[in-house]
């Protein structure tokens, strides 16, 4: 078996995704030689460019052996607890999709069923009032949750500084950087494999496995031929504009995503840098200067032969819900866990693709939910809300509507609390409350909910402001 082991991996892509992949490969499988071709990520490589990240980044850093002294303090990152959505459903107040629990189960059913019963009776406080992360986020306060705590957090990166950190770390772990643009991808005969990559400055690199982290162009994986399954019918925005802005004095813990006439705009900010962006449909709005084209969808087979596409080379989605880097991290984890040998047995490739495809499709569902559950009068939004959802989302919505139940699929990126935050936040309600909660009288439910809500609110004042907390971390790191 050892004779067939993969020894050398080439990672093409000099953005966050490429360097993160190189670092993780070296960290978890030290026997691999890893060469990085630092091809600059293009403007539409969103996993390399979007600031906001999901809570899974914390686990990724743990696996890498990186501490927050590096990933937060030195890289100029801030914490984030969720996103404030405004204007997605007319007549509804803005809502926070916060990370972590929204209420706690009591009696015979999950919390949200009690909430739904109260909401159907017109007596419910906003759903996010029961989420500690939403309360802290609105108040601009942050501290690390206790182990097994009630909330989770992601990071808001300063992308260029973070990329430098990841590059330095990958090199420290023994990855080799080989500068130069890709001149040509050389294929090996007819077996659908890559033999090597010829560089513009002369020379070539050969490897056993090729990781394509070059963004939507998919410079390596594309050479083997690929088919994109497009999602435009459910995710109708096809243009993106993004620009840097000076950071806020007090970095926010919640990013803001505001619905507009034919799309939405966002603002996020780390302590060092803010980003303002806009995503829209070119069919409904005139072109904007500097807009990049967004073809949302995923590659049918991210892994083919000896080449695996990661990041935007595999899945392209708008930054709504900030899943871009999360999907890349998840693919890197999967690659490291499933590292095959040079046989590239079809069953192993198939299993990798099965998981990646299922994961991407459920992220698509979650993003499509925001459009499907929107309520605005513009033509763009009317069409978006009327579009027939993909079958897996239709199944989710039908069950939710009927009974407030949420089927959880394999390879789900967003948990029940997240789905509920958006569904209930945008005003979708089940037809009726779950019969299972009937043995808890409504006034008992109401009292329990009121206690939880007060506890969430009472937990806020004792927590430091984001800026104060970051300063204390800096002082600790400097010690």
């Amino acid at each position: 078996m050892d004779g067939k082991a993969i020894r050398h991996v080439l990672v093409a892509g000099g953005g966050i995704v490429g360097w993160s992949c190189a670092a993780m490969l070296r960290k978890r499988i030290p026997a691999l030689a890893v060469t990085v071709l630092p091809v600059a990520p293009p403007p539409d490589a969103l996993a390399d460019r979007v600031q906001a990240t999901l809570p899974t980044i914390v686990y990724f850093h743990n696996d890498l052996g990186l501490t927050e002294a590096d990933t937060v303090v030195r890289a100029g990152s801030g914490f984030r607890l969720g996103t404030l959505f405004e204007g997605w459903a007319e007549g509804m107040p803005g809502y926070v999709h916060a990370y972590g629990e929204h209420g706690r189960p009591f009696g015979t059913a999950s919390f949200h069923q009690h909430w739904v019963r109260a909401a159907l009776a017109g007596e419910a406080a906003p759903f996010d009032a029961f989420a500690p992360a939403a309360a802290l986020g609105r108040a601009g306060r942050f501290a690390h949750p206790e182990a097994g705590g009630a909330y989770a957090y992601g990071l808001t990166l300063t992308p260029e500084r973070y990329r430098h950190l990841m590059r330095a770390y990958a090199l420290h772990l023994g990855a080799i950087e080989r500068p130069g643009d890709i001149a040509q991808v050389r294929l090996a005969g007819e077996d659908g494999r890559i033999e090597g990559v010829e560089l513009a400055g002369g020379g070539a690199v050969e490897a056993d496995l090729f990781v394509d982290a070059t963004g939507p162009r998919a410079l390596l994986r594309g050479a083997l031929g690929l088919r994109l399954e497009e999602w435009g019918q459910w995710l109708p925005c096809d243009r993106l504009v993004m620009r840097e802005a000076p950071p806020a004095a007090e970095p926010p813990l919640l990013d803001i995503a505001v619905a507009e006439a034919a799309g939405w705009r966002w603002r996020s900010s780390s302590p060092a840098l803010a980003t303002e962006g806009r995503v829209f449909s070119s069919a409904h709005e005139p072109e904007a200067d500097g807009a990049v084209t967004l073809r949302q969808g995923r590659v049918a087979q991210p892994w083919l032969g000896n080449c695996v596409a990661i990041g935007d080379a595999a899945v392209r989605v708008e930054p709504l819900e900030w899943a871009n880097l999360h999907l890349a991290h998840s693919a890197i984890d999967r690659l490291v866990a499933m590292m095959p040998d040079r046989d590239f047995s079809p069953v192993e490739t198939w299993d990798y693709n099965r998981q990646g495809v299922a994961e991407a499709d459920r992220v698509r569902d979650f993003l499509a939910l925001h459009y499907r559950a929107s309520r605005r009068s513009e033509a763009f939004w009317r069409d978006a809300a009327a579009a027939e959802p993909p079958p897996s989302l239709a199944h989710t919505l039908a069950l939710f509507r009927e009974r407030g139940r949420l089927p959880i699929y394999d390879e789900e990126s967003f948990n029940r609390d997240s789905w509920l935050a958006v569904l209930l936040g945008q005003g979708l309600l089940p037809r009726a409350a779950d019969p299972l909660i009937e043995i808890v009288p409504p006034d008992e439910s109401a009292a329990a909910m009121a206690r939880m809500r007060s506890a969430v609110a009472a937990g806020v004042p004792g927590v430091p402001t984001h800026a104060a907390y970051l300063s204390s971390l800096s002082r600790q790191a400097a010690r």
Partner: protein, 503 residues
């Protein structure tokens, strides 16, 4: 708030384990939504399969508020940490499928990957069961309740029960009747249906009485009175993969240790169970009638049991498979009326429980909604289909060539879904992970390795630690597991202090 909808009149056809579990759950958890009326006939015996259970039953009992010690004393139950499989890979082999983890069950990669790495490098590391607390407790006949602190080694196992199923149903009957379930004694002679919708409107008893209802739960057992017979829901026959279609059962006196696990011993044309209860040991031979006659099976069983027989051998007939749909119109099949999988992995009661859980969560609040019904069927089908593959694995992963039966199952074609899983394990010990489904990684790993499906490679992440340090850490852990198990009380002693049956 709108007025509560009128109560649903639920008619349960058939007592037994499925019927009374359903009745108990409905009256306890949906008292404002349904009236429960159960019809059973004492003239029809209960099959009483599933004397051995899976850990999930504890959640069912807890949800109903059943006191564990009282329940165990009443059903003369013992604890169960897993299943011991003898003679499956080869005659003389023995392994345990534990209700627990190998290693501490935390971190990536899985513990068995480190073990594979060392074995493949030629190190003479002990069998994997030495690194599982559940396995070691079972081997040493020890038992103590698990520790809820996930950092403790003593949190790495779960447990189930081995109990007398003929005592479980009466226990639940008292519980359900105490909460308002109605019971009618009688044999059903006819099923009445609505001419237009085809829904069942009532059942007619031998006495002439007709009992109506809005929702009918078919717990009639193999005969599948409503789902199969009246509605004609087709049966998916899985006997080409699971050819066993008979069981000969015979209890005996317990002569050896009171084991905290179920014994499953491969035989010439099937397998034999050994389920130790407080007052006796249940035995049975599950076999394929195409390969063995009833007489030979009974002879083999009588010859194999450990103690004095307490009854004559009794034969049950069945066929592996499930109804295409378990919920059709206003009829929901629960238990054997909806499908059958042999009790090799103690799934009979689990399948009942899974159907009840789905029914509770999808309970109709008026006319049956197709969305809820389809979801019920999706959930139930998923359970059946995944268990099916797991059972087939036990037969297919064998090197036995000593009988026609084993030659057949060893060489038969298996479902693609299983073929892929086995190939992934053979490559580098990878187990396909699912979010739902009853058997998790450790179960698959135990059976694969226990039945000689040995991976060629391993997860490359397992190569990261230094070999000497890894060997030392594994040896330290093995000793800790052994010492922890040895410090626990004997299984019988634990039962005598915790939940002894009435003398």
């Amino acid at each position: 708030m709108a007025d509560a909808p009128p109560k649903v009149n639920v008619t349960i056809v058939g007592g037994g384990t499925a019927g009374w579990m359903t009745a108990a759950a409905l009256v306890k958890l949906l008292p404002t939504r349904c009236n429960v009326h159960l019809i059973e006939s004492e003239a029809i015996g209960i099959v009483g399969v599933g004397e051995a259970t899976l850990p999930h039953i504890r959640a069912f009992n807890e949800r109903l508020g059943i006191d564990e010690a009282e329940f165990m004393a009443t059903t003369r139950a013992t604890f169960k940490l897993g299943i011991e499989f003898d003679n499956w890979g080869r005659i003389g082999d023995s392994y345990i499928h534990p209700f627990g983890t190998f290693g501490r069950g935390s971190g990536e990669p899985d513990f068995h990957q480190y073990w594979l790495r060392l074995r493949q490098a030629g190190h003479d590391v002990p069998d994997l069961e030495n690194y599982s607390l559940a396995c070691m407790m079972a081997r040493l006949n020890r038992f103590a309740l698990p520790n809820p602190d996930p950092d403790e080694l003593t949190s790495t196992f779960g447990y189930a029960y081995q109990f007398d199923a003929t005592l479980f149903a009466p226990y639940l009957r008292r519980f359900a009747e105490g909460l308002g379930a109605r019971r009618t004694e009688g044999r059903i002679v006819d099923v009445l249906r609505d001419g237009e919708s085809g829904d069942v409107t009532g059942v007619k008893l031998e006495s002439g009485e007709t009992i109506g209802g809005d929702l009918f739960i078919d717990c009639s057992g193999f005969v599948s009175l409503l789902l199969g017979r009246a509605l004609g829901e087709p049966f998916q026959d899985w006997s080409k993969w699971l050819p066993n279609d008979r069981a000969t059962a015979m209890p005996c006196r317990t002569e050896t240790a009171l084991t905290p696990y179920t014994g499953v011993i491969a035989m010439e044309a099937g397998w034999r169970w050994r389920i130790p209860l407080q007052h006796r040991t249940g035995n049975g031979y599950v076999y394929a009638s195409a390969f063995l006659s009833e007489e030979k099976a009974a002879e083999a069983l009588v010859a194999a049991v450990e103690g004095e027989p307490l009854a004559a051998p009794r034969v049950l007939k069945f066929k592996a498979g499930r109804r295409e749909r378990s919920w059709v119109g206003n009829v929901v099949g629960v238990g054997l009326a909806s499908g059958f999988l042999e009790p090799l992995e103690s799934t009979s009661i689990y399948l009942i429980q899974a159907a009840i859980t789905a029914l509770l969560e999808l309970f109709p609040d008026g006319p049956v909604s197709p969305v809820l019904r389809d979801e019920f069927n999706r959930l139930v089908d998923l359970e059946y289909d995944r268990i099916r593959d797991f059972l087939i694995l036990h037969y297919h992963a064998t090197e036995r060539t000593d009988s026609e039966f084993w030659n057949y199952v060893r060489t038969m074609e298996i479902p693609d879904t299983l073929e892929e899983k086995m190939e992934l394990f053979r490559r580098r010990g990878r187990v396909v992970k699912y979010r739902e489904g009853v058997f998790l990684d450790a179960s698959w790993i135990a059976v694969y390795l226990g039945q000689r499906v040995i991976p060629e490679g391993h997860d490359m992440r397992a190569d990261a630690p230094d070999a000497e340090a890894l060997l030392r850490a594994m040896e330290t852990f093995r000793r800790e597991v052994r010492a922890t198990a040895e410090a626990m009380p004997d299984h019988r002693r634990h039962i005598e202090t915790y939940c002894p049956m009435a003398a």
